[in-house]
């Protein structure tokens, strides 16, 4: 029922300058929840629209369920789309909205009604069928949009920035809901977002998009732990990036210090470490065997509730460390501290 989405070499230009999509190869496995993450202007919405059929690619193939889709107009692709603005039809009730796709498929009224109820139950909005969109809250509107897209039992679901219009509390709740709904419906889902938290929490697989190119993809944890480029490291979370000359098992910084990693990555001249992987030590504390250790001067510590972020400086290099509440040595700006971490946490970068 649910289909795989496959993009092969898809390109789209809107004029001179950066292309919106640049030879993108992407596979959204059947039944999975795939998050396309990128800054604004990266082309993620374009890719979504290409899959939905609202744009045509300049080159490449788009296959849905194994069959080429380029020649199909949007109304025949059998997909469910949830727009960023939800796009609920203001002149129709919730039930009419949800049943719109079914009506377009000429389903008999009785079956339509049953399916609408089923969809509303799935998103936990039973009983609201008679309301009009303008009488709904933001969260309710999103659920209606979802129900509408799912009522037709599409081959795949496309979501455009699903959580961006919601406030914090609602967002946390919808994250859980969205995953549950997707699992229950078992539908292949592709969503785009600029919010890395959204991408990390919702996806089975993440794709990083930059200037129309797919920079890296994989399960969130893998992409997070082992970003391929400095940009990826910085975009998905925070990272301190080191640049130096390659050395066996690591690299040498311009000031002579050694950074070690445990992967096999000979010749890499860049590496990244995430602030939460760094332990802060006083100069007098012992450093565990084999760990990387850099001494630096503390510039500022920013307390933010459960965690604290520390910014340090070592010559030209700006470093960051994250400590959980209360951990770490008591220190004041100007103090010298040691940043230490095990080599397994170092991520060698390709570029």
């Amino acid at each position: 029922m649910s289909a795989e989405i496959r993009l092969e070499g898809v390109s789209r230009r809107f004029g001179p300058g950066t292309p919106a999509a640049d030879a993108v190869d992407l596979v959204v496995p059947e039944g999975s929840f795939y998050g396309l993450l990128g800054p604004s202007g990266s082309g993620k919405t374009t890719l979504l629209r290409l899959v939905a059929g609202f744009e045509t690619a300049d080159a490449g193939r788009i296959l849905i369920g194994g069959a080429p889709a380029e020649a199909l107009p949007p109304e025949r692709r059998d997909l469910g789309v949830v727009f960023q603005s939800y796009a609920l039809f203001p002149n129709m009730s919730v039930a009419e909205n949800v049943g719109f796709g079914l009506r377009a498929r000429n389903l008999p009224r009785r079956e339509r009604r049953a399916r609408v109820e089923e969809a509303l139950a799935l998103v936990r909005l039973e009983g609201l069928g008679g309301r009009r969109p303008h009488a709904l809250s933001g969260g309710q509107r999103q659920r209606v949009a979802l129900a509408r897209a799912l009522a037709v039992r599409p081959r795949a679901l496309l979501l455009d920035e699903p959580l961006s219009a919601l406030d914090r509390a609602l967002r946390a709740e919808m994250q859980v809901e969205l995953r549950r709904i997707q699992r229950e419906a078992g539908v292949t889902t592709l969503f785009v977002t600029h919010d890395q938290e959204e991408a990390l929490t919702l996806s089975d697989r993440i794709g990083l998009l930059r200037d129309g190119r797919l920079v890296q993809e994989g399960p969130p944890r893998d992409v997070y732990r082992r970003p391929r480029t400095a940009w990826a490291a910085r975009f998905l979370g925070e990272a301190t990036v080191f640049e130096g000359t390659p050395a066996p098992g690591g690299l040498t910084l311009p000031d002579g210090a050694r950074i070690r990693w445990s992967d096999a990555a000979p010749g890499a001249a860049l590496a990244a470490i995430r602030p939460e992987d760094v332990t802060l030590l006083r100069p007098s504390d012992p450093v565990p065997d084999g760990w990387n250790a850099l001494d630096a001067e503390l510039e500022v510590s920013i307390f933010s509730g459960p965690t604290a972020t520390h910014r340090l400086r070592r010559g030209d290099l700006a470093l960051a460390a994250l400590t959980k509440g209360g951990e770490g040595p008591a220190a004041a700006p100007g103090d010298r501290l040691i940043l230490a971490w095990p080599p397994e946490r170092t991520a060698p970068l390709e570029g």
């Binding site: 939905a52 609202f54 109304e75 025949r76 796009a87 039809f89 719109f100 377009a104 498929r105 897209a149």
Partner: protein, 260 residues
């Protein structure tokens, strides 16, 4: 001058401008109710000019001609203009050029457009008459319809039609069930606008008219050239009243449609 002083001066200025704009109209309306046939004061209330109007066959015929032509203009121009507005909204290639082409009918002095139509229709064999007038009026009304409908279209969330299509509705069904209901106030406003433009149109009608088949404004003009009669006053007051009422309706529609 203090801030408040400036603001009051500004309000006064606006008031004077409004006075300037409405004074002649108000005077004309008042005079239409004045018994004196020579606009002499003091003022003496009388309905006689309107009574005379009721018996003036020629003016009435001209009025009906104006109305029929205006209705036809509204129907045709609205259909053509709405289609064009929808197409332009999609952002086709050469959109700028197409939009610019809508200006000549409005911007080029109607004297020139009117005489050009006169010449062309004559040479082509269409000649003058109500048909020619209709052609001219529709050409004039189309840009206004496009303007009004486009404004309404811009307020439409583009995602709505796309959502409908993603759910399986064909382009036409999506337009019919989602866009059109939203567009309705704008289309009606455009139709009313077209009606008003045609009804009030003088210059084009003047050149394209066949003798004996005149529209109201041309009839009024002829009467003015012959000499004032207060009957013209009365019919003019009526005409302005109708135009303004129509346009108030347009304004209501265009605004209230957004309150959803």
């Amino acid at each position: 001058m203090s801030g408040r002083g400036w603001r009051n001066a500004g309000r006064l200025w606006l008031g004077l401008v409004l006075l300037f704009l409405y004074l002649p109209i108000a005077v004309m309306a008042a005079m239409s109710l004045n018994a004196s046939p020579f606009y002499q004061l003091p003022f003496e209330f009388s309905w006689r000019w309107y009574d005379d109007l009721a018996g003036n066959r020629q003016l009435q015929r001209a009025a009906w001609t104006s109305i029929w032509i205006a209705l036809a203009t509204a129907a045709i121009a609205t259909a053509l203009g709405t289609a064009a507005a929808v197409a332009l909204h999609r952002g086709p290639r050469g959109r700028r050029v197409l939009e610019a082409l809508l200006f000549p009918p409005i911007a080029v002095p109607w004297l020139i457009t009117g005489t050009a139509m006169l010449v062309f229709f004559f040479l082509v064999g269409i000649g003058r008459g109500n048909g020619a007038v209709l052609v001219g009026h529709v050409a004039l009304a189309i840009p206004y319809v496009v303007l009004v409908v486009s404004a309404r279209l811009r307020a439409l969330d583009p995602a709505l039609e796309e959502a409908a299509r993603s759910l399986g509705a064909s382009r036409w069904t999506a337009f019919r069930r989602v866009t059109l209901p939203f567009l309705a106030p704008g289309v009606i406003a455009g139709a009313l606008f077209a009606f008003a433009v045609s009804f009030d149109q003088f210059v084009i009608s003047y050149f394209l008219q066949a003798p004996g088949q005149t529209t109201l404004p041309v009839e009024i003009y002829a009467a003015i050239r012959k000499g004032f009669t207060p009957e013209i006053n009365a019919v003019s007051t009526l005409v302005i009243g109708v135009s303004m009422a129509l346009l108030l309706l347009v304004a209501r529609l265009v605004r209230f449609g957004d309150l959803r």
